[in-house]
């Protein structure tokens, strides 16, 4: 549990939630603050209006009837209970109380005129007014001082209540949001922990493990599902790699064993120039075969893993077809067969000329080697709506339908072709080149024979990689 807690506290989800809570809290705080401020100032302005109206009336009384009228008006007002809450005080120039319901002039109020808040002086008839008072005061023309005010203690209490509500509200929001974010984070951490646990298990004990699904079909399940699919794919690929390395081991050991035996035998017998020469020549030839196979393997691996699309440019498949046919014409002739290029003169694809040439050359080489003795091999080029298509067609024994998927695998060789030279890598290279170019491979029955077809996608607009290509060509 404590591990989970530590993980929860470290979780990025929690951090994100805390940031959200912070922003949300600040907003609420600002909103409540505004409500408090505007309420308080509204109530205060009401009090100010009332005070101003009373001042006006008293000033008029003083103007028309002199000081005695003013004292009468003050007396009338302090006696009237309906005007409760009103404060009145008339003081002589020495601030001694003349009339009104305030004990004495508040010491806080100085000057000839003004407006201020103050607390009521202790004791006296105005003892009811314990809270905060607000008043305007002025010096009348005859030197007496007049104060008119109101008790704003209720308003103060009201503002205090708002402030308390605000504090409670904000604390509650923070607590709720905190609890919610911790629980959401724990859930997230829990799901991620399941994925982590599986990952660790895979690292420790192999690719057999899968991430458990909860069947909720939510985004976590989808993630787990995709990761599981990826694991399936990796497991399948690892299986293939193992198969390939087994094959490599076999195909390397066979010639190496041959070479070793030959050299061992040669070292045990007396030196004889002619024999030694032939042993050396045979060993070199075997070694070259091994190196060629090795080169093919690394070449396929590189094609499969490297991103060469930057060096892609527009290539005419028809040109490649005619060049391959020209190159292999001699080989076909040697077997007494025919090799022709037919079809469109222009079929453009975006790709790598060397690799495309190599792929087509491998297909033609296969067709000549495995096709009918003295047969006919045709390289067809067509420009369809969906893109360029190049097919290599022979009239040999073809490939059985159930073998089609396997022939693209590294080192796979059909029973019927075990005796012909080759290392079972040619079609793997073709497949790798096709994949790199986004081309689809079809193996069709030509009855009799095989029609190996590569369907390319439509060329993309002029490549930007032309600089790299130019550099490569210039360096040649």
């Amino acid at each position: 549990m404590s591990v989970l807690l530590v993980k929860t506290l470290r979780s990025s989800t929690l951090k994100l939630a805390l940031i959200c809570i912070g922003i949300f809290g600040a907003t609420v705080f600002a909103l409540f603050g505004y409500v408090y401020w505007s309420t308080a100032s509204y109530v205060r302005s009401l009090a100010d209006q009332a005070i101003a109206a009373e001042s006006e009336v008293l000033r008029k009384a003083h103007g028309s009837g002199g000081r005695s009228a003013l004292i009468a008006a003050i007396g009338q007002r302090t006696a009237d209970h309906r005007a409760a809450g009103g404060l009145y005080l008339l003081a002589d120039p020495a601030y001694a109380t003349v009339a009104g319901n305030l004990e004495r002039w508040p010491p806080a109020l100085k000057g000839s005129a003004g407006q201020d808040n103050f607390t009521a002086p202790e004791g006296g008839p105005a003892a009811a007014h314990r809270g905060l008072l607000r008043a305007t005061f002025e010096t009348l023309p005859d030197g007496y001082h007049l104060l008119v005010g109101r008790d704003i203690g209720d308003l103060d209490a009201f503002a205090g209540k708002i402030a308390i509500a605000l504090a409670w509200g904000i604390s509650l929001i923070f607590i709720l949001a905190g609890v919610a974010s911790v629980s959401v984070t724990r859930r997230t951490v829990g799901r991620i922990e399941a994925i982590n646990a599986t990952s660790r298990a895979i690292m420790q004990s192999g690719l057999g493990q899968r991430i458990p699904l909860r069947g909720t079909r939510d985004e976590w399940d989808q993630l787990a599902d995709n990761l599981n699919l990826m694991l399936d794919r990796i497991e399948a690929l690892m299986g293939e790699v193992k198969q390939v390395s087994d094959n490599v081991a076999h195909d390397l050991r066979t010639p190496l064993t041959r070479m070793r035996g030959r050299l061992e035998k040669a070292s045990g017998r007396p030196r004889e120039a002619a024999l030694d020469q032939s042993v050396i020549a045979d060993t070199l030839a075997d070694l070259d075969g091994v190196l060629r196979m090795f080169a093919s393997l690394t070449r396929i691996a590189q094609i499969e893993t490297s991103d060469r699309t930057a060096a892609f440019r527009t290539v005419n498949l028809a040109e490649i077809a005619s060049e391959v046919v020209e190159l292999f014409d001699a080989a076909a002739e040697d077997k007494g067969g025919h090799l022709d290029a037919v079809g469109a003169q222009r079929a453009l694809v975006t790709g790598d000329r060397d690799l495309l040439f190599d792929a087509v050359a491998n297909l033609v080489d296969n067709a000549i080697k495995h096709g009918r003795e003295a047969g006919r091999v045709v390289v067809e080029v067509a420009q369809g709506d969906g893109g360029a298509v190049i097919s290599v067609v022979d009239d040999g024994p073809g490939i059985p339908q159930n073998e089609c998927q396997h022939v693209l695998k590294r080192f796979y060789r059909l029973e019927q072709s075990r005796r012909t030279p080759g290392n079972g890598l040619g079609l793997s290279l073709v497949a790798a080149v096709a994949r790199m170019h986004g081309a689809r491979i079809d193996m069709l029955d030509n009855a009799p024979g095989l029609k190996f077809r590569l369907c390319f996608p439509l060329p993309s607009p002029p490549a930007f990689g032309s600089a790299a290509v130019a550099a490569e060509r210039a360096g040649r």
Binding site: A285, T298, Q302, S306, A330, A331, D354, G475
Partner: protein
């Protein structure tokens, strides 16, 4: 080719490979200096009186590509042959872009190495504009694109003519298959099939068939060589 300095700088960290390189180049009449790391190679390369240098791709300290880049930045244009144990597809472009002139993947046949070094050494020499090439009794007219041997016309396809022309231009030198493919077909890979042999075989039948002596020779495991009988 004749005269002048024929000094070669070999930058190679593996002692046995280095020794083999020095031996085979020395046997072919070159004076060879060996550097066992990039920094020493760069220092020697700066002296710039080498006809060709061969540079291992991966070296202790400064790697081969960095050595070439430094030399090129300093304006030293000694032709460089990169020897690499890395795969060809990406690394060739990288090496050539850094200023390398040719690229050979390890392991290689020494005959092929010699052929490429020879080709690079000759590149710096002046190219004579000839219109007719001759080897023994074979005559190639580069203007009319016709071939005659012992006064008799030989019919060749345009590409066959190019193959023969390239071999004749490199008379006496071994031309590796990959070089032929590169210069005649503009392809940069080593074919996994024996197709070049078959193709050259056909050219040979046309040129050497029913003749007193052959001109086109196959060098086993490497390539071809055009040579007049001595």
């Amino acid at each position: 080719m004749a005269g002048g300095r024929r000094r070669i700088l070999v930058i190679e960290d593996d002692p046995e490979t280095g020794e083999q390189l020095v031996d085979s180049l020395a046997t072919s009449g070159y004076e060879v200096d060996l550097s066992v790391n990039g920094d020493d190679g760069l220092a020697r390369g700066r002296s710039a009186d080498y006809a060709v240098m061969t540079i291992d791709r991966m070296l202790p300290g400064m790697d081969g590509i960095a050595v070439i880049r430094h030399l090129r930045e300093e304006g030293i244009v000694t032709p460089a042959l990169i020897l690499s144990a890395l795969g060809e597809i990406d690394d060739r472009v990288r090496g050539l872009r850094a200023g390398g002139d040719d690229y050979l993947v390890k392991p290689f046949a020494f005959a092929e190495l010699l052929a490429r070094v020879e080709a690079l050494a000759r590149r710096s020499a002046t190219v004579v504009k000839e219109t007719v090439l001759r080897v023994g009794d074979l005559e190639l007219d580069l203007v009319t694109r016709t071939v005659r041997r012992s006064g008799r016309d030989i019919e060749l396809l345009p590409r066959e003519f190019q193959v023969l022309e390239y071999l004749v231009r490199n008379e006496g030198q071994v031309v590796p298959r990959a070089m032929l493919l590169q210069h005649v077909w503009d392809l940069h890979f080593d074919p996994t099939t024996n197709i070049i042999d078959v193709y050259v075989g056909r050219v040979r039948r046309k040129v050497d068939g029913q003749q007193a002596f052959p001109l086109i020779h196959t060098v086993r495991g490497v390539g071809f060589c055009v040579r007049a009988p001595c």
